[in-house]
Every structure is written in C-alpha cells, then in structure tokens.
Amino acid sequence: MARGRSRLRLPDGTGPAVLGLVPLGFLAVFFLWPVAAIIQRGLGSDGLVRVLGSPDTWSVVLFTVGQAAASTVVAVIAAMPVAFLLARCALPGIAVVRAAILVPFVLPTVVVGLAFRSLMPDGGVLSIVLANAFFNVAVVARTVAGLWSHLDRRAENAARALGASPLRAFTSVTLPALRPAIGSAAAIVFLFCATSFGVVLLLGGARYRTLETEIYLRTVDLLDLSGAAALSLIQITAVVAVLVLAALARRRRETAMALRARTETTRRPRGGEWWVAATAYAVVAALMVPIVALVVRSVSTSDGWGLDGYRALSGTGFRGSLQISGLDAAVNSLRAATDATLLALLLGVSASVVLVSLGRSRAHPGFVDTLDTALMLPLGVSAVTVGFGYLITLDALPGDLRTSAALVPLAQAIVVTPLVIRMILPVLRSVDPRLRQAAGSLGASPWRVWREVDIPLAGRSLIAAAAFGFVVALGEFGATSFLARPDSATLPIVIGRLISRPGELNNQMAYAACTMLMVVTVAVVLLVERLRVRSVGEF
C-alpha cells in the first residue's frame, strides 16, 4: 500500500503542476487582471466609503443573498426527484428528459422574463425566485445524477435487507454519498442566482435590486466606477465567503466510492419509487409550462394561428430588421458554442486533474481549497465588471483582442470552465485509489493510469459536462452582445434584437427563433450524449 503510494507521488506532483499552469494562466489573463484593473480604477475616490456607509447598499446585499438562497433551495428540492429519475430509472424517454431540462438554460432571459411576467402578472419576489429556479433545476439534476448513476446499488440494498425503510436507506446511505455533488451544484446555483441579471431586471424593475443590477446600472448608465467598484468588492467578498463555506462542507466528503457503470444501476422503478418518478415528471412538466407558452406565442397571429414566424426565419425580419437571417444566426451559435466548449473542456479537465493530484499528493488541503475556490470565482463576478475590465487591459496584449470575435468563445469559456470542474471533480475524487494503485503496480505509467482508470470512470460526467457547457455557451447573452459583430450574431442576440422591435412579424419571428434554439439544443445534447466513451462496465 505505502509502496504504491510513493511510486505514484512524484509524477502526480510534477506533471500536473505544469498542466495546472494552463488554466491558471488563462484565468489570470482573462479574468483576474481585467477585474483587478477596473476595480482599482474605481477605488481612487471616496466611492467605497460612500457606498459602504449607505443603508441602501445593505438592503441590496440582503435582497441579493436572500433571493439567491431561496432560489437555490427551490431548485435543489425540485431537482432531486429529477436526478433520481435520470440516474436510477430505466424508463423510455429518459434521454429526452435529460436533454429537455437543459432547454431553460439557452433561452434568453428577456424571453423567459416575459413568459413569467405573463404567467404571473403580479409575481414580485416569488416570480424572481421561481424564474431563477427554472433556469437552474438542470444544474442540480444533472450534477447529482452524474454521480448517482455511478453509485453502487449494493450498499442501499444491504441497508434495505437489514430492515431500513426506503426513506431511511436513502437518507443514511444514498444521500451522504451524494452530498458532494449536491453541495457542488448548490454552490453553483447560488452563484448563478446571486448574479442573475436579466430576470431580476425584468421581473424586479427598480423595486427589487440586486448587487448585479446595481453594478450594471452604475457602470453602464451612470459611469459611477467608484460606486460600481465598491459594490463589486462586496460581491466578490460574499462570493468568496460562499465558496469557502462550500469548500469546507465538501472537504473530506469526496471520498473513494465504488463507482459502477450506469447500466448496472438503473432499473424500472418499484413500489414507492413510482411516486418519486411521478414527482420528477411533474417537475419536468412544470418546467415546460413557460416553454410551451413561448411556442404558443410563436404560432399566434392577429387572426388565429400561423407559421409566419417560422417562414420568416430564413429572412432578416420585418423590413429587414436584422443583418443576417435566423438560420445564419443558428449556424453562428453552433460555431461559437463549439469553440467555447472545447476550450472549457481543455481548461476544466486539466484543472480538475491538477486539483485531484494535489489532493492525493498530500499537498496542504487549504492550498487545494484555495485553488479550487479561485477557479470558481468567474461564476460570481458581474459580467459587466469583466467586460469593462477587458476594455482597459486587453489592448496591452498583441493583436488588441478587445473587439475581436475570438473574445466571444474566450469569455464564454471563462464561465463554462468552473461548471466543467464542478461536474468532473466529484467523480474523479471518488475514484477508488486501489484501482489506481493496482494499475500502477501492474506497470502503468501515471498518464496511462489517468487514461485507463480515471477518465473512463469519469466518462459519463465528462460527456455530461461537455453537453452542459455547450448549452451554457449556446445561451450566453451578456458577453456575446458586447462582442459579437453584426454578421456573427448568435441566436440569443437575434432574439433580443427582434423582440425589441415593433411589428407583429418581428415578434413572431423572435418566438420562432426561440423554438429553433430549443430544438437545436435538444438535438445537440442528444447527439453529444450518444457518444459513449468506454464505460466502467468494460473493465
């Protein structure tokens, strides 16, 4: 045992350390530097004191944290039955459910906001919480299901055989094993909800303000950089606090588990499990309500039903409102999202490998956690802070990237990488070290151990992360709207453009483009998930 460990330690420490420079370097240049520069520019004057001293600021902070926490709780509760359905049930149509729950993620927030507004005309805080949860159920369901589908059923079965009720077996065996994935997902969802922008702006107006909307308005409308910098500092402090809490909760919980192939762990639901599956279907149906509302709008015309909006997709809108056709925009979307996903996978996998290796190599746990937390930061910092940071820093790099189309996938990758890490890391950390030691003592080089043991075990999560990252990039609006050229506009940009124009055809076309975006999303996710990497079962 000890010998196996020492043989693996040296390469684990050095090789990955070099690998780690890639994601860290990228993060430093395209995230830390721009954010530090824009905050520093704002700090000169008395803004910090003014903003910190204002009671208004603290009510904004309170509302931000409160709505994010409430949204996270709703998302986790709604997502757990869905995760069970995805991970444990062998029922027809599961693949479609798995893809369909991702649809909310690609929809432009303005469209979802309008849908919630028409479903809940006087919704207020409740509509904000539900809309945020609507976007994020998929994050929890898919992250948790990723681990759950690899969990060995036998521990559960043993508990049942010893007389535990199904609920008891779940709470004392399954739930503790799932906790790292739930914690990871909840942390991500909290960050997403805390920095949620479009939905809060549309549903909250100026009545309900969050740090994110305040930072945006101060930067973009008022050019109050010192106020924005102060708020950004509060936001970053809060985000780091949440991440540290999540890391502490996670520590030591991501232990070795006997992971199994998904085929071994699914079966038809039995007895009470049908209730859970039914609840899951009810949650999915609820998610589909706003989506169906959008599809209905896409075929509504002033005199009944019609497909004018869909026919218009091949053109450029009512009297040429757009520079490119809806179909061109779809192609642009696929391209940009592919670039971003490849880049994010590269960065995310190398970062995860480094984090796992450092964890195994007895590096100080505090150091590993700090690194882990730093890699999550992009999820919790306002996009407008990063965007304006780019403006005053990136011209120092060769080729002035500031207005380059290449910045779109780079900026998207910054957001997608933390998601990839959070989806892959729990699985990699759960790999039984004895498997790796066995491979090592049979003569496999460290790289071969990764290739033959860890990567195949994490295979499903890797594919799930790729699909998820792709979808996030596909729906990305903020960075893209700042950077995309007229001829490289993506579908969300085109939808935003169309919906901000008068005229019935523009409106129908916007909703038809939404439907197209949803169809493309589901198709791509189904396609990606058909690519099975060699799974555990083949060992």
Partner: protein, 344 residues
C-alpha cells in the same frame, strides 16, 4: 466501427468550425472600424458601394446599448476601440464631449439638415438620426371604452384615463428616461415630481423595459395587452399595420421627447482620413434613406424620402428637448426624484 467513424466525423467537423471562427480573415489597410451600439442596423449594399467607390472596408463593432457605448468610449479614450463612433445620443453626449472622446470634423454634408440638431458649435458630434419618444395610443380600444383619444401629458393625469397608461422605468430603460425628460421639460424641475404623483394616483403602470411595456402590456401590439396607452416611439405605428396597410395605432405628438443620435471621429483614431469619409457616408442620401426601415428613426438630412408606411407617422414638430449638459448633470437626481414620487 461505425462509432469510430461518427467520432472521427464529429471531431473533424468540430476542429473545422473551431478554426473557421477563431481565425477569421482580417481586412487590409483601407479599413475603418465603426464602433456603435447594438441597435445599429444598415443596408450592406450601401457599404459595398462605399467600398467600391473609396476602397474602404467598414468594420462594424457593436458594444451594448447607447449608455454602454458612451461609457466604453470614455474608458478607452487613451486607446480607442475604433476610428469613428455612432450612437451616442443627446442623453449621454455631454459626458463623451467633456471627456474629449471625439475630435472636430465638420462634414460638408452636415449643412444639408443635420446641423439643425447640432449639440454645440464645436462640430465634434454630428447628428445622424433622431427618434421621438412619445405616448402611443390604440384608438380602437379607447373607442370601445367610449373614451376620446388624449392629446397632452396633462390629459394622461385626467381620471378619464385611469389605469390605461403603461410606462418604462427611467432607471432601466432608455425610452423610459426620455419620457421622464419630456415631463421635466414640460413641467419644469419643480413640478415634474408633482405630475408623476398625479400619474401614480391615476394608476400608471411601471415596467422595467420597452419589450414588456410594448409587446406585453400595450393593447395595440401583437401581445394584445390590457392598456391602450404606452410610452414608445413616434415611428412605432408604422410597424403596426392593418389589412389595408394603415397603422392601427398612433403617436401623441404633444407628449414627445426628441432623442438625437450622433456620430463623431474618435480622438486617437488610426485612420482619421477614412473615419471622416465614413462620417460623410452616414450623412449621405444612400445611408440616410435606409435609416427609417433599418433603425425605426428619422434621418436628419433634409429632403430624404420616407418609406410609404411612414407618411402617416411624421416626427413630432414640437418635441421637448433639454440641453445635453443638464441631462448629464441631473440624470441620477431626476431618477431618484421620480422614484420617490412613483415608488414612494
């Protein structure tokens, strides 16, 4: 085997799309970068003809809304994002001018109408188009309720029009801000708060953006909402046509605020000569005649023919205005005062 093939095919296509979009072609020397906001739309044919005539390729780079654009130009004045900028409007102009973002250029075309909207006499910004923000009305819905079409801002506070008006929040919406400025202009700094308090008592509904107000709350648009009065643009009725091609809605021309959009040559431009030519292009008949259809605004050049559907939707002859420096200086305070009156 088939799986291997699929994998290879996917990997190849992925690699190809990635290389296509990451390494786009770059234009040569005759290039002018036009920085603008994300509502900028143009007719490619006009730019193609310009290239054939002058050899200049115009590269359009959009960056957020008018506010985001202005602030980005200010932030990057030491190392500008392009050569010429379009889309700074009269609510943001003086911030850009105070910060020295633009250099002087008096286009020979500017005397053919645009000069009427000049912001000062330094010729650093040239007016390209204007759009009036006005209350739009759905006459059919008002007729059904036996209420006459209102005419003025004062009418909107009349109990006859209780619960009929929807407006945008000036803190989050550009037409919302323009309408607030219209009330400041007509009622003065002292009384506009009082006017809004009366609107509040009369059941005005405030939403955060134009999309929601117009496409969802307004009864005259495709959303078929409940309110027949909405803050939108003088040009909006030209897009709401009935079977005979006549607008179904109308703009109340005594409730308008004039929004003017400017262009200017950027201080520190790499290609100043080309930037000037592009500014001339934006003022040319070719470009100006496409402005209504592409951007739903009116050309500043005189004698440019409007599209047929626009004949019924003229710009307001006496739209309110405020001096640009006043807007910059007071924007935040007026919004706060509005908030106190309406949210109170």
């Amino acid at each position: 085997m088939r799986r291997l093939f699929t994998l290879t095919a996917v990997a190849l296509s992925v690699a190809m799309t990635a290389s296509c979009s990451l390494f786009g072609s770059d234009a040569g020397d005759g290039k002018v970068v036009l920085v603008t906001h994300d509502s900028f739309e143009y007719d490619q044919a006009v730019f193609d003809k310009f290239k054939a005539d002058t050899g200049i390729t115009v590269e359009v780079r959009k960056s957020g809304d008018a506010g985001a654009l202005t602030n980005q130009l200010v932030l990057t004045k030491a190392s500008p994002l392009g050569d010429v900028a379009f889309g700074v409007d009269n609510t943001f102009a003086s911030r850009a001018l105070d910060e020295g973002v633009f250099v002087e250029y008096r286009s020979p075309e500017a005397d053919k109408g645009p000069q009427r909207y000049a912001i000062d006499d330094t010729a650093r910004l040239t007016a390209i188009d204007f759009g009036d923000v006005c209350v739009n009305v759905d006459p059919a819905a008002l007729a059904a309720a036996n209420v006459p079409v209102p005419a003025s801002l004062e009418d909107l506070a009349d109990p006859k029009y209780k619960d009929l008006l929807v407006v945008e929040d000036p803190a989050t919406s550009s037409p919302g801000l323009a309408f607030l400025l219209a009330t400041v202009s007509q009622y003065g700094q002292k009384d506009f708060q009082n006017y809004w308090a009366r609107l509040k008592a009369n059941g005005v509904k405030v939403v955060s953006g134009w999309e929601e107000a117009y496409t969802q709350e307004f009864s005259g648009s495709s959303g078929k909402g409940k309110r027949p009065l909405v803050v939108s643009y003088a040009s909006s009725p030209s897009a709401e046509l009935d079977d005979k091609g006549k607008p179904r809605t109308a703009a109340l021309l005594d409730t308008c605020f004039k929004q003017v959009e400017y262009a200017g040559v950027l201080n520190g431009a790499k290609n100043t000569e080309g930037a000037r030519k592009v500014l001339d292009l934006l003022l040319s008949v070719d470009f100006q005649s496409k402005v209504p259809e592409k951007m739903y605004v009116y050309p500043t050049r005189e004698g440019v023919e409007l599209p047929a559907a626009w004949a019924a939707t003229p710009p307001a002859a006496n739209a309110s205005t405020l001096p640009a420096p006043d807007i910059t200086a007071n924007r935040e305070r007026w919004i706060e005062q509005w908030r106190a009156a309406v949210r109170g």
